[in-house]
């Protein structure tokens, strides 16, 4: 069953058609790579999927619910969650609070509970702390729990951003260049982490990345776009050998 279903998606910026008739289905617990040259429209597709931009044409369905026209925060509630090409953490909040903000909608107590510190408040907060701890454990961040996010090294910030996205309990995770700025060793670790979360959290993942080792190494299926249009689809191996892809993207 498709978690994400995109049909004939297009967006126009003035004279530029940044995404042009884009179609995609992502199945449950599938890991799909989205690659393409710089400026091909990958990030723009993410922005369309998450409600940051309104498509000029086309439809997007998450679990059979249309998301077009919904605000980003509501789309999160429908089960998608993302990271950003330029890391966007809550820099002056602790690592723990970064996760707990994302866990917000899954907590259930109202303002009065927080002012009177009711039992419900305590139980829910304790549960949130527990969840945060579990997530941080997975990402090896537990020791930084009380650090401010801005004080983490870059690689850890990337991981925290993924952890935060997971805390919303998504069915599909959209990762925008998670390995950017990492050295090969760190990238390798990241690959392992991505595989792990896919299995442990049972999510689908759509991933943008320029690091071919990562993309080819873990993606089950790859979609290649150029100038907003799909130029190839298929298994990593086939993509690696596709002439068009080599010409537009991989190089000799």
């Amino acid at each position: 069953m498709a978690v994400l279903e995109v049909k004939h998606l297009s967006i126009q910026f003035g004279g530029l058609r940044a995404v042009d008739d884009f179609n995609l289905e992502v199945d449950h617990n599938e890991l799909v790579g989205l690659i393409g040259p710089n400026g091909a429209g990958k990030t723009t597709i993410f922005n369309l999927l998450t409600g940051v931009y309104l498509p000029t044409e086309g439809s997007i369905h998450l679990n059979n619910v249309s998301t077009v026209g919904k605000r980003p925060s509501d789309i999160v509630l429908l089960g998608s969650s993302r990271t950003f090409q330029n890391i966007r953490l809550f820099k002056n909040m602790t690592v723990q609070d970064n996760i707990k903000v994302a866990y917000h909608n899954r907590m259930d107590y109202n303002i009065f509970s927080s002012i009177f510190k009711t039992k419900k408040y305590k139980i829910e907060e304790a549960r949130a702390n527990e969840i945060a701890r579990e997530l941080l454990e997975v990402f090896d961040l537990l020791e930084f729990e009380q650090h401010l996010a801005k004080n983490l090294p870059y690689g850890k910030q990337r991981k925290l951003e993924i952890a935060r996205a997971l805390a919303t309990n998504p069915q599909i995770l959209l990762l925008d260049e998670p390995a950017a700025g990492m050295n090969p060793q760190e990238t390798e670790e990241l690959m392992a982490t991505i595989k792990l979360i896919k299995n442990q959290f049972n999510v689908s993942i759509l991933l943008i990345e320029h690091d071919m080792k990562l993309v080819m190494g873990i993606c089950e299926r790859i979609v290649v776009i150029d100038y907003g249009k799909i130029i190839a689809k298929g298994q990593p191996k086939a993509i690696r050998e596709n002439k068009n892809v080599i010409k537009a993207y991989l190089g000799e």
Binding site: P37, G39, Q85, Y154, E186
Partner: protein, 234 residues
């Protein structure tokens, strides 16, 4: 040409650079590799006087750089492509490139250099009148490099130029770096992509938590086991 001796930099109480020494000879490509937070960016910023060092000396063509104000460093031939691109988001691509030649007055030569940049990066010519803030990440990186070239630098400091670029462009960028170098510009290159960087450079230094732990000819480092393990995954 560029010589860094006993450099120390502090951010408040954080001692980010702890006594770094290295040298860049004229005509060379020198690579600085090291993991995240090792202090690579900090060193480049110290060279272009964007941040104050707490001790040590940096000389360029035998003159101490600390006698220059930050904006004057560019004028004596040091161009810096900063990490994170730092294009002017509200200016068009063309205006960004023109800013690169800000202190120059030779209109004709500027025109020619502009043409050269467009030849090197056709995408920039396509997007000439788009405001830089809406460019894609890779496009912005091209713009940042193109803009620095408009300076006609003697030495080019590049901070992770391949970050976020498509594979074909990464190759392209490293080719361009070599080309720029061959046309007479010395290059100090900071990279995560150690493999490629070491292949095109002459000398290299490995930086770990603010200190240089290894140095040598790039070819040798490529075969160094430690480097292989840490920075060049098989």
């Amino acid at each position: 040409m560029l010589k860094v001796t006993n450099l120390h930099v502090h951010y408040g109480v954080i001692h980010a650079i702890k006594g770094v020494n290295f040298e860049v000879n004229e005509g060379d490509i020198v690579t600085l590799i090291g993991s995240n937070g090792a202090g690579k960016t900090t060193i480049l910023k110290a060279i272009s006087q964007l941040i104050d060092k707490s001790d040590g000396d940096i000389t360029f063509l035998d003159k101490s750089l600390s006698q220059y104000k930050p904006h004057e460093v560019v004028r004596i031939g040091v161009s810096h492509v900063p990490e994170g691109r730092h294009v002017f988001p509200g200016l068009t691509v063309l205006e960004n490139l023109e800013m690169g030649a800000y202190y120059r007055n030779d209109k004709v030569a500027i025109k020619q250099d502009l043409q050269k940049v467009f030849v090197r990066f056709p995408r920039l010519e396509e997007r000439k009148h788009q405001v830089a803030g809406t460019l894609s990440g890779g496009e912005q990186q091209m713009l940042a490099i193109g803009r620095a070239l408009m300076n006609h630098p003697k030495i080019l400091l590049l901070d992770e130029p391949s970050m976020g670029l498509a594979p074909i462009l990464v190759k392209e960028i490293f080719n361009i770096i070599q080309e720029i170098n061959q046309s007479g510009t010395t290059i100090l290159l900071v990279e995560q992509n150690a493999n490629q960087a070491l292949q095109i450079s002459d000398k290299a230094y490995v930086l770990e938590t603010g200190q240089i732990t290894l140095s040598g000819l790039s070819k040798e480092l490529l075969n160094n086991d430690k480097v292989k393990a840490a920075y060049l995954s098989a």
